[in-house]
């Protein structure tokens, strides 16, 4: 697979909420090849601590060779990235991994939890090229309103139907994102695309399986290389017989292919 290592200039930064940022960088080769669900490995600066690159889903690509990431500040690595100013550079490696597969399904449910909405915007754009907006449904879960309202607007502005759940009930339905899935009835062939924290993914995969919907999950693990070289990103196969590797075989998997622990 073709990947590129680019010193990408930061062309814009946006503080979405307290600790969530949206950064746009100029990385033409990556932008040209990227597909929804793929990711990039990022490094800010030349320091040796933190040492490793950090993985981020490709949130959007745009005209002019632009790549966008949406990220939450967790520790040293994301702090360093958040500290970059417009005009400075980050070292970006990508596009990496296997993205979402969009078969000829009749309905598409995009289910995102928290920062896990990141890859779904890119996916929605792609799906809109071949599908009516009415065939696409966006379900977003978050802790509280501030974490999700900007993103929900982004999907709505694309003309998509968006439902939101928040744990504190500050926006949409109080509860978890699976609470939005359960009431849905559908005779059509449905594909669920989901990204978010592991317990949520497991729950979404469970509901999907109960409903007989196909489900693709985007998994996260700690990664060193992102290229299939270090074998660090192992996840147990559904048959418990050996491992798949998130960076190379994923990050997007058929929910039936991995073991849910």
């Amino acid at each position: 697979m073709q990947a590129y290592q680019q010193k990408a200039e930061v062309v814009s930064t946006e503080k979405v909420t307290g600790d969530i940022y949206r950064f746009t960088v100029k990385a033409p080769d990556i932008a040209a090849d990227a597909r929804p669900g793929q990711f990039v490995m990022v490094r800010a600066g030349d320091g040796l601590d933190p040492l490793l690159r950090r993985p981020f889903s490709i949130h959007q690509v745009a005209e002019g060779g632009l790549v966008q990431i949406l990220f939450k500040v967790i520790g040293k690595g994301t702090q360093a990235i958040a500290g970059l100013q417009v005009g400075q550079h980050m070292d970006v490696l990508g596009p990496l991994g296997r993205g979402f597969v969009h078969n000829t399904m009749q309905e598409h449910y995009l289910v995102g939890g928290g920062i896990g909405v990141a890859p779904l915007l890119f996916l929605a754009k792609q799906l809109l090229k071949k599908n009516e907006p009415s065939a696409i449904r966006v379900l977003l879960g978050a802790g509280t309103k501030a974490e999700i309202s900007t993103l929900a607007d982004d999907f709505e502005n694309m003309g998509l139907g968006v439902q939101v759940s928040t744990e504190d009930g500050s926006l949409g339905k109080p509860g978890l994102v699976t609470d939005l899935m359960v009431p849905l009835q559908n005779e059509n062939k449905v594909m669920v695309y989901t990204c978010g924290p592991y317990p949520m993914l497991r729950a979404v995969a469970g509901v999907s399986s109960d409903k007989g919907w196909a489900c693709q999950v985007s998994l996260e693990t700690i990664m060193a290389c992102g290229l299939g070289a270090c074998l660090g990103c192992a996840v147990l196969r559904a048959d418990m017989n050996g491992y798949v590797h998130v960076c190379k075989d994923g990050p997007v998997f058929d929910a039936d292919d991995v073991a849910w622990l």
């Binding site: 697979m1 073709q2 990947a3 590129y4 290592q5 490094r43 040796l48 601590d49 933190p50 040492l51 490793l52 690159r53 070292d91 490696l93 693990t221 700690i222 990664m223 060193a224 290389c225 992102g226 290229l227 299939g228 070289a229 270090c230 074998l231 660090g232 990103c233 192992a234 996840v235 147990l236 017989n241 050996g242 491992y243 190379k248």
Partner: protein, 308 residues
């Protein structure tokens, strides 16, 4: 600048390399993974992920944890096994002019011998690197690399079944690495490479569990450079075969330190994850250093800090 390219060639036994920079086993996959990021034809040599007779699944995740200027890994020597290596991975590497060195590992001396015998048939395999950090299952799991007698036995076995250069890769988790180096030299190794990872661990203070499912893992990266450098110095003092330096090399300067300490070549490991272009940058940087310091060849550089 129209500077004359310095001569960066080096030899390891009968093996000639165009430059002294190799990729370390386990950090460069089977080469192909880096094909679109690195000019594989420029490297001194490519060393692939350690191969065992049969495929290995490796240890459960989490397998990786970051530490200060370093990382821990417990991959558990996951690999495709000898047969799939030959059928699936070797063909790509045959298309690359760069010498291929295969890193091998086993649970018994016989495992190593069988691997050596089979790989001897493949001309593309320019040399073997024998990973002796693995536990010897016949001897209660003590690593081959921590006992001079066992290290000697493995080396001798491989030597007898492989006609091209044999490099033995030493573990740093020993009281006296010179003793092990001396044993493998005596057993017929053409070179030693060092260091493999340093045994370490990390704990997650919220879950109160070790960060690696395997509890212990191998520490690599810049943090261990001072240890690798010291051991290369010690080993170069006591063996007369070539020494290949490994551990925390991220820049040309790091590589030059190892060569000044007595290494005739170096391997770039963890840095491949951080900066895939590093090996090429290091090759260029060593060349530039030779030119700037008016050194005609690698011979002027190797072990210079021991002579000045």
């Amino acid at each position: 600048m129209a500077l004359e390219e310095p001569d960066m060639k080096i030899s390891i036994g009968s093996l000639r390399l165009r430059n002294p920079v190799m990729t370390a086993s386990g950090t460069f996959g089977y080469g192909e993974e880096y094909g679109s990021l690195v000019n594989l034809h420029r490297l001194g040599a490519i060393i692939v992920k350690g191969i065992s007779l049969l495929p290995r699944q490796g240890t459960p995740p989490p397998r990786i944890a970051e530490t200060a200027c370093g990382m821990l890994n417990a991959i558990g020597l996951e690999n495709v096994g000898l047969e799939r290596f030959l059928s699936e991975k070797l063909p790509f590497l045959q298309g690359i002019s760069t010498p291929l060195i295969v890193n091998i590992l086993g649970d018994t001396v016989q495992d190593y011998e069988q691997l050596a015998a089979r790989l001897n048939e493949e001309e593309k395999v320019a040399a073997l690197e024998v990973n002796i950090s693995c536990p010897n299952v016949k001897q209660g799991g003590v690593a081959f690399g921590t006992d001079p007698g066992m290290a000697h036995a493995v080396t001798k076995g491989v030597r007898q079944h492989f006609s091209r250069p044999v490099i033995v890769k030493l573990s740093p988790n020993v009281t006296d690495i010179s003793e092990i180096a001396g044993a493998v030299e005596e057993a017929g190794a053409d070179a030693v490479s060092l260091i493999n990872t340093v045994l370490g661990m990390a704990i997650d203070i919220e879950s109160c569990r070790p960060k690696l499912a395997n509890i212990f893992g191998g520490l690599s990266g810049p943090a261990i450079k001072p240890i690798g450098l010291r051991m290369v110095w010690q080993v170069a003092e006591c063996v007369s075969i070539p020494v290949i330096g490994i551990g925390g090399i991220t820049t040309p300067e790091d590589a030059i330190e190892y060569i000044l300490a007595g290494a005739c070549a170096v391997q770039v490991g963890t840095t491949n994850f951080i900066n895939p272009k590093a090996s090429e940058e290091i090759i260029q940087g060593i060349g530039a250093y030779l030119t700037e310091h008016s050194m005609a060849s690698m011979q002027d550089l190797i072990g210079r800090a021991r002579r000045v």
